[in-house]
């Protein structure tokens, strides 16, 4: 019997090793993943010669943020396919080399180095999560390769240097959008704020919201806080309830917001909740149940937008991948199209020329809003406000800077 325990341990070790293989893709795994996704030859794989312009993408295809990277990749592929069908750039076809960062900043940095030194890409499309994009930006800036992040909203990403751009708005803007919406559209006078003290994103949004809301003549009755991973918010909500607010601003991520909504209803708070793009996930509806209905959040884009360009993108995306594209797919698509347009304008394909061309992007018609890059290389664009109801979101309004 004494032998049993070591044997069991050995069996466990074998099992663990087997699991490892399944979840951790080997370096060759990316190619396999692409093949499995039915990647078209025109927009994937290694370049075939001098008649190809190679772009690079680093995104989370596995790990906790996997949906982010996959959506973005689909958007980029779609944009490249369209550009190639229209004749490519400077008489050459476009291709993209995709590396998985496994949702980890260190992997993202490594993949970026590989894109620059081995694959010699002309331009890099970054990740969604700001921490990954920050790690990439450092490498891209040092090598003088232009990088565009589709959807990293943290202010510091583009501050890494003059080769780093983004096609989405920055976090403080969302705080302003919700403050304006709460004052002008919902006509709220007194609100409470419930922020995530462990997230720079949440604190940023909450600070700007508070400042702007006060400037617009409203009052912020109280600011309570929680920590990412908490599941009991009754104490904060009870304290908020005492101030009898007309609304609550909760600029957090969907995993916490869903539970907060349920408990807010439980302690008897019936007022609307408001938040930012951290809410944008199917999980929000599961975790929040019916309690989240009637809440509002700011986002990059809405699939309900009747604009013909947006609806064509949605139809194309559905045809290619099935399902409605989320904001990340839309921003991936926009980032790739901004890049392609800049490559067309650039006088050659060297880093500095491409950089200058991207910097001159003005009034570019993206599906997630018009892109104009400011002198800090951030997109100045409008945000949409969505209303949550019965397991889906509904477009309410667009707010411009």
């Amino acid at each position: 019997m004494r032998r049993l325990a070591p044997m069991l341990l050995a069996a466990l070790a074998v099992l663990a090793a087997a699991c490892e293989k399944k979840t951790q893709p080997t370096p060759s795994g990316e190619a396999g993943a692409q093949a499995a996704q039915g990647q078209p030859a025109s927009a994937g794989g290694t370049p075939t010669g001098a008649d190809t312009i190679l772009l690079g993408q680093v995104g989370a295809l596995t790990g906790g943020q996997a949906t982010f990277g996959i959506s973005t990749r689909n958007g980029i592929e779609l944009a490249l396919k369209e550009a190639n069908a229209a004749g490519g750039v400077k008489g050459k076809k476009l291709a993209v080399k995709v590396y998985d960062n496994q949702s980890k900043p260190e992997e993202a940095a490594q993949a970026t180095t590989r894109l620059i030194t081995q694959d010699k890409v002309v331009l890099i499309l970054g990740d969604v999560a700001s921490s990954n994009s920050l790690a990439m930006a450092e490498k891209a800036q040092a090598a003088g390769v232009p990088m565009i992040t589709p959807s990293s909203t943290n202010t510091t990403v583009t501050q890494k240097g003059d080769y780093i751009f983004r096609v989405c708005f920055i976090d403080p803007f969302q705080g302003f959008v919700m403050a304006k919406f709460a004052r002008d559209e919902l006509k709220l006078g007194k609100v409470a704020v419930l922020q995530d003290n462990k997230s720079a994103y949440s604190i940023d949004l909450s600070d700007v919201f508070t400042r702007k809301f006060k400037e617009m003549g409203g009052t912020v009755a109280t600011t309570e806080s929680y920590s990412q991973g908490d599941t009991d918010y009754r104490a904060q909500l009870t304290a908020i309830k005492k101030t009898q607010p007309d609304g609550i601003y909760v600029p957090g991520y969907y995993s916490e917001v869903g539970v907060i909504a349920r408990q807010a209803r439980e302690v008897g708070l019936k007022v609307p909740l408001m938040g930012g793009d951290g809410w944008d996930s199917e999980k929000l509806f599961e975790l929040g149940g019916s309690a989240i209905n009637g809440s509002y959040f700011s986002n990059h884009y809405s699939p309900d937008n009747p604009d013909a360009r947006v609806q064509k993108f949605i139809a194309d995306y559905k045809a290619a991948y099935g399902g409605v594209p989320d904001a990340l797919a839309a921003l991936g698509y926009d980032a790739a199209r901004v890049a392609i347009e800049a490559l067309q304008r650039a006088k050659d394909l060297s880093g500095p020329s491409v950089r200058d061309a991207i910097a001159q992007t003005k009034d570019f018609p993206g599906v997630a809003g018009t892109v104009t890059l400011d002198d800090k290389r951030n997109a100045v664009k409008s945000a949409v406000v969505l209303k949550v109801g019965d397991g889906k979101t509904q477009y309410v309004t667009t707010i411009s800077p």
């Binding site: 004494r2 049993l4 325990a5 069991l8 341990l9 699991c19 399944k22 979840t23 906790g64 003290n197 309570e224 806080s225 929680y226 920590s227 991973g229 908490d230 599941t231 009991d232 009754r234 104490a235 904060q236 009870t238 304290a239 309830k241 005492k242 995993s255 869903g258 539970v259 349920r262 408990q263 439980e266 302690v267 008897g268 999980k283 599961e286 975790l287 149940g289």
Partner: protein, 306 residues
């Protein structure tokens, strides 16, 4: 005043669940002098067993007394089995080894469970948090004033289940032959063995009991906060461990009192100060108790036999 009352209710609700988890730590420590750091993660596994069985039962699990009982039974029996396996293969081979070895193994099992459950293969649930199904249909049971204080049916039911489990445990330890054997093993397991007590069986049963109890507590926790994730065990487990130490580890009523105190302290700190103070105050309180009364509020300082 109404706010104070609501905080009191919230704090008690959190405290009773900490108490049930803390009892598991205290029982195992009492019998083996082992701090079973995997206890919180066993609780987490129990929650996912309850999750799976609630879905398997579908609407039967909702509202019907039989359905709720079935969910609890599956989770508690499943966890008891898990407790047995862990004790048999991870702790028993190390029983005659220095105590530190078993402690390290316990931490290893804790991580294996909490990170293993974040994988997304086969029956494993993956890293994303999930909403626990409402196996008790929530209804407002008591409303004071203009919804100043709201008490829900599941709060009462959870409280009753928790008290029931605690009373049952107290009877088991002090009113049955098995309890007598447990206490004898706790006193000195070698002498107990000489007296004809099947120590291995008693220790295994203690583990099963504490793990089953953890599953029960986990389900009450999941009903309360609705969001479940593979890392929940680390968090609740740590808090319950602190509660057990505050009360005097190895002391059954001490664990309950310690947990209730901790639940209330946390609730009042968050409600009247700020949430960032919650853990600071909880652990500060622990340090204070250990400084003033090293054995905990109810414990006695026993000289270590050399």
């Amino acid at each position: 005043m109404a706010q104070l009352l609501q905080h009191l209710i919230n704090g008690l609700a959190a405290g009773t669940i900490y108490a049930l988890v803390a009892l598991g730590y205290t029982m195992v420590y009492g019998v083996l002098k082992l701090i079973n750091f995997a206890h919180g993660d066993v609780m987490m596994v129990g929650v996912y067993m309850g999750y799976a069985s609630a879905f398997a039962l579908g609407r039967e699990a909702r509202g019907s007394l039989l359905g709720i009982a079935a969910v609890f039974a599956v989770a508690m029996l499943g966890c008891a089995l898990l407790g047995f396996i862990i004790e048999r293969f991870a702790y028993r081979p190390l029983r005659e080894k220095p105590r530190l070895t078993a402690l390290i193994t316990a931490i290893g099992i804790s991580f294996a469970l909490s990170y293993g459950f974040q994988l997304d293969i086969g029956f494993l649930p993956g890293a994303s948090p999930r909403a626990f199904p409402e196996i008790i249909e929530p209804t407002e049971w008591l409303i004071i004033g203009d919804r100043d204080v709201v008490v829900w049916n599941w709060q009462i039911i959870s409280f009753l289940i928790a008290v029931g489990l605690m009373v049952g445990l107290q009877y088991l330890v002090f009113g049955t032959r098995f309890g007598q054997a447990m206490r004898a093993v706790s006193w000195d397991h070698r002498v107990a063995a000489l007296m004809g007590i099947p120590t291995d069986r008693v220790i295994a049963l203690t583990f099963m009991l504490s793990s089953g109890l953890a599953a029960g507590a986990g389900l009450l926790y999941a009903i309360k906060d609705t969001s479940v994730s593979p890392l929940m065990g680390l968090y609740v487990g740590l808090k319950a461990f602190v509660a057990a130490v505050i009360g005097g580890i190895g002391h059954v009523p001490g664990a309950v009192v310690g947990a209730l105190v901790l639940g209330l302290v946390e609730e009042f700190v968050v409600g009247y100060a700020a949430s960032s103070w919650r853990d600071a105050v909880a652990f500060g309180f622990l340090i204070l108790v250990l400084l003033v009364k090293p054995g905990g509020l109810f414990g006695r300082v026993a000289a270590e036999k050399v």
